[in-house]
């Protein structure tokens, strides 16, 4: 079963001839999804958006998790949300009113989800139209999908041409990704991000490895993100880790962004980090 969508071929309609005659390139709408909840979709969206914006791209992040708004928290923008996605869809606010400029990254904007509404309130066709108009203004439109495969997921997917699936190395998460990929069909050319890998556990044979997940899902791998305590710290502060220029995990996000942008960069390997007792102590103290 494949999901219906407004646009047939993703390559088609990437260019738009403006009335003046010059050709403007439409941005890419990418849905970030997973099926299972809690695998890090929102964290991935925030960090990938930040990393893409850092490369100079114009990026819009759309929180499609109506009723459970969270992307604003991860970006530290929760106090700036005045209008949301449904306001725009129902024409009680303009897109300009609702797009919140990011604190940290230029060119990065958030369209927040409605917190006190339900997923069923979203009109799929209007959602498609909204994503289409965002594509005219941004290089990337990243849509943070809610967990599940019901209406909320279908709405999040509706306007997108591409998909990134986020998976943790767990049986349940891999199974759900497999299901979601089946629902998406080939048209979205889903690419995989393996999140929360713990190399120590993999080495001891206590966690599925990147190769294991890869062999089962057989999806193009965009990158691997380690289970990194700093993610929790940055989430606490509302500053995505990808704002940093160095550090293994920040670099992993930058590499993913480069690959999304079509650069053929090597995938950084998630290395076993040997921490001395002192280091662990210091790290713990700072966090």
């Amino acid at each position: 079963m494949h999901l219906l969508s407004q646009n047939g071929d993703p390559a088609e309609g990437n260019e738009r001839r403006a009335t003046t005659g010059e050709i403007t390139k439409l941005g890419r709408a990418i849905v970030v999804t997973s099926g299972k909840g809690g695998v890090g979709k929102t964290t991935t969206t925030a960090n990938l958006g930040t990393a893409l914006a850092r490369r100079g791209a114009r990026v819009a992040l759309v929180d499609a998790d109506i009723g459970l708004r969270n992307l604003d928290i991860l970006l530290g923008l929760e106090n700036r949300v005045t209008h949301h996605l449904l306001d725009v869809l129902e024409e009680s606010a303009t897109l300009d009113d609702a797009l919140i400029p990011d604190k940290h990254s230029e060119n990065l904007y958030l369209l927040a989800a409605a917190q006190s509404r339900e997923k069923e309130d979203v009109d799929t066709e209007k959602m498609c139209a909204l994503v289409a108009s965002l594509r005219e203004r941004f290089d990337y439109v990243l849509i943070d999908s809610p967990a599940g495969i019901e209406r909320g997921f279908r709405n999040a997917v509706a306007g997108a041409q591409e998909a990134i699936v986020v998976c943790t190395p767990e049986v349940s998460a891999v199974r759900d990704v497999d299901r979601v990929v089946g629902l998406l069909g080939n048209r979205f050319r889903p690419q995989l991000i393996i999140n929360r890998l713990r190399p120590q556990l993999v080495q001891k044979g206590k966690m599925l490895s990147v190769e294991d997940v890869d062999a089962i899902l057989r999806l193009p791998l965009l990158g691997v993100i380690a289970d990194e305590p700093q993610i929790i710290v940055t989430t606490n502060r509302g500053e995505p880790l990808a704002l940093r220029r160095d550090g293994a995990t920040a670099n992993a996000y930058h590499a993913i962004a480069a690959r999304v942008a079509g650069e053929n960069v090597a995938m950084p390997t998630v290395e076993l980090k040997k921490q001395s007792f002192l280091e662990r102590l210091l790290r713990g103290g700072r966090a």
Binding site: R179, G205, K206, I216
Partner: protein, 120 residues
Amino acid sequence: MIEFLRRFFSAAPPSASAAKERLRFVLMTDHLALSPEIVEAMKRDLVDVISRHVEVDREKIEVTFERQDRAVALLANIPILSVRRPQPPEPPAAPPTRPRRKRTRRRASGTSPTEPAAAT
């Protein structure tokens, strides 16, 4: 230290392999849209047919699915306890509808246990 020694000497298979196995099975049944009940029923029927000729270890039967290119293969691993001799004096001595439990308990020693039988 005790933890280290315990870990060093414990021979339990790593849980990642268990995860891999479970995943493989669950995805196969997902893709085939086969419910676990059907798999169980298939297993039962397979064993019933095979037990007409040889005595098998019902407790240790493994039925798995494997992706082979585009097709899915069903692999059954059925340990044989003993090859039953034909019993000429008594007429139909062991009809296949006999209670199963008893047969499984009567474990013959020194038989070759695992001879995988594959069917697609």
